[in-house]
């Protein structure tokens, strides 16, 4: 009953100056709209740019590095155990690039419940013979289905069917840039020479484009079986295990653990791509700062309007106080005006922001760098909507509090006797 009365008085006071009230509400609406749109758009772009690298990068890569043996034979000889040995011209030991006992390792990793999936790959250097010249390249033997599930391989194959490389024997999917260099089309045959000197004819079944020219120029994909055949190795030959975790942040710890358990080299994504997180963080921070600045500006608008309203309605405040409204009643009247402006402005702002985001989502955005993106990316994370609305209500509350406090302190005697 009483709060109803306070709200009714607040409503009619706000209505008495409805143009200014409307402008204040539009100010809040505009800020909230821009806040959610800006953050949605910025985060959409962030995700896309990060995805450009992160989607395709394994969280952990297990492999055997070519390096000199850490324990040289002399150290194993008992007679020289107490000596300090100087060895010159140490060379890397003979290449056992494959991961030993790969089947068992894969099986055990698959059952680790921190792991989303594991993809076996074979990476090897080749030369593509084009007429009289050779072009340097890397062939990755992969399973196209696992690779698609974990690393979105399917999205980057822009021509041809990605599954053909498994079904068509001796087939290859070339990088778009490399294919353009070699002037080959789908159905053509290219000749690849392995590091051991073996030559193999490979049929081109598709092109992929990652969006990063350096990768598209060098990398190409074939099935595991074809890669093993190219190298003359048995079908247990696997050089890399690419692991995707459920939680990216665990990568460094898990990498260390696996390196120890399986006696292999392990590389985690944070070490390889440290700069991405920093970029994302700073872009998000800038969006928040801009968004919150807009909301604060809207808060100043409300502050002004309420101040004006209070000067104008000094008589009304005086008579309300004379007839028994307490200071806190008067404060509540003005805070409810400001909060109503904030809440209504925020709600409409969220709706308009959502519509604007959907509109941006429809704008065509095509770039050769990103074959899977057709329109501008937008992130509809409810978090932004909650923060936007919450901050709008908070700002209007604070903006209303100061004038309301002033109104509650109005001395009716001064106003009434001053007449």
């Amino acid at each position: 009953m009483k709060s109803n009365l306070i709200f009714r008085i607040a409503f009619s006071l706000a209505l008495a100056r409805w143009r200014q009230t409307l402008i204040a509400a539009i100010g809040v609406m505009f800020s909230v709209t821009m806040f959610v749109t800006l953050l949605g758009f910025m985060n959409g772009l962030n995700k896309m740019l990060d995805g450009l690298i992160l989607n395709r990068t394994p969280h952990i890569r297990l492999f055997n590095e070519i390096k000199p043996s850490e324990v040289q034979p002399i150290a194993l000889v008992k007679d020289y155990a107490g000596y300090h040995n100087f060895i010159h011209s140490v060379k890397p030991s003979g290449g056992r690039l494959e991961i030993h006992n790969v089947g068992a390792i894969m099986n055990s990793i698959k059952h680790d419940n921190r792991v989303l999936g594991v993809a076996p790959t074979i990476a090897t250097q080749v030369f593509f013979s084009v007429g009289a010249i050779d072009i340097n390249g890397i062939i990755n033997g992969v399973d196209p289905e696992i690779q698609s599930d974990l690393f979105f391989f399917r999205d980057y194959v822009i021509e041809g069917n990605y599954l053909d490389m498994k079904t068509v024997p001796n087939s290859i999917i070339l990088g778009k840039t490399a294919a353009d260099l070699m002037l080959v089309h789908i159905g053509d045959v290219v000749q690849a020479t392995s590091v051991t000197g073996d030559k193999i004819q490979l049929k081109v079944v598709g092109f992929f484009q990652s969006g990063i020219a350096d990768i598209d120029k060098v990398q190409s994909y074939t099935s595991l079986a074809t890669a093993q055949k190219l190298l003359g190795k048995p079908n247990s030959y696997i050089t890399d295990l690419q692991i995707k975790l459920k939680n990216l942040d665990l990568a460094p710890a898990v990498a260390k653990e696996y390196a120890q358990i399986y006696q292999v080299d392990a590389e985690d994504i944070q070490t390889v791509n440290a700069q991405f997180e920093t970029g994302t963080k700073i872009r998000t921070l800038i969006s928040y700062v801009v968004g919150i600045t807009l909301l604060i500006v809207a808060g100043f608008g409300i502050y002004n309007i309420l101040n004006m309203l209070i000067y104008e309605k000094m008589d009304s405040i005086a008579i309300l106080k004379a007839t028994g409204f307490s200071g806190s009643d008067v404060r509540r009247i003005f805070i409810s005006i400001s909060l109503s402006i904030g809440i209504i402005g925020a709600l409409v702002g969220l709706m308009v922001g959502f519509s604007l985001s959907s509109l941006i989502d429809q704008i065509p955005f095509k770039t050769s760098a990103l074959p899977s993106i057709k329109t501008y990316p937008v992130d509809y994370n409810p978090k932004f909507y909650l923060i936007g609305a919450g901050f709008a209500v908070l700002t209007t509350y604070i903006a209303g509090w100061m004038p309301a406090q002033k109104a509650s302190k109005v001395d009716p005697v001064v106003i009434i006797r001053g007449k």
Binding site: A322, G327, S328
Partner: protein, 226 residues
Amino acid sequence: MKNILEASHINKYFYNAQTQQVLKDVSFTIEHGQFISIVGKSGCGKSTLLYILSTMDTDYEGDLLIDGESMHSKNSNQLARIRNEKIGFVFQFHYLLNEFSVLRNVMIPGLKLGKYPEKELQDRAMDKLKIFGIADQANKKPNQLSGGEKQRVAIARALINDPLIIMGDEPTGNLDKKNSGIVFDLFKQLAQDYKQTMLIVTHDPEFAAGTDRVIEMDDGKIMNNE
């Protein structure tokens, strides 16, 4: 008869540049049903006294009892409650809220008190307007009314919570002769028919002459307390 209001040894000072005593040891009592006027020259402290008695001005020495309760130890919220429940005000200016209809203006102090449900309160407000012959204006906005009508609405508003006492600060000061006559007759009617206690500050000798009791003030002191 029971004392509705009791002022004892009230002193009041203004502090600008030098201290000036505006009320000097003012003591008097008001009994139920009295129609009292306070008269005196401009600047004699009569309005100042009224605002102290109204509980709106709390900066004074001495004690004030309304309905047997001392106002000294009350906080501002409690004082607001007392004004709402026990005191009705009529000022020189009407102070009606232009955003609300006449009827709602009369109802607002009653809605604040919350003693009656809204429907009943509306009937009561309507009754008051009928007494003053302005029931037909109930749904108009105050700025559509004449000066005399506005002041009658203000008196109706002062009566809505059946206050112990009505306080008036020059209620006819802004009105022409005809309208001030109408308003005076209303006060008279309230005193006679409803035994309403009233304390009115005025500088109009004619008005004062029509009241039961005249308190005359000069230089912050009560000169003549009939």
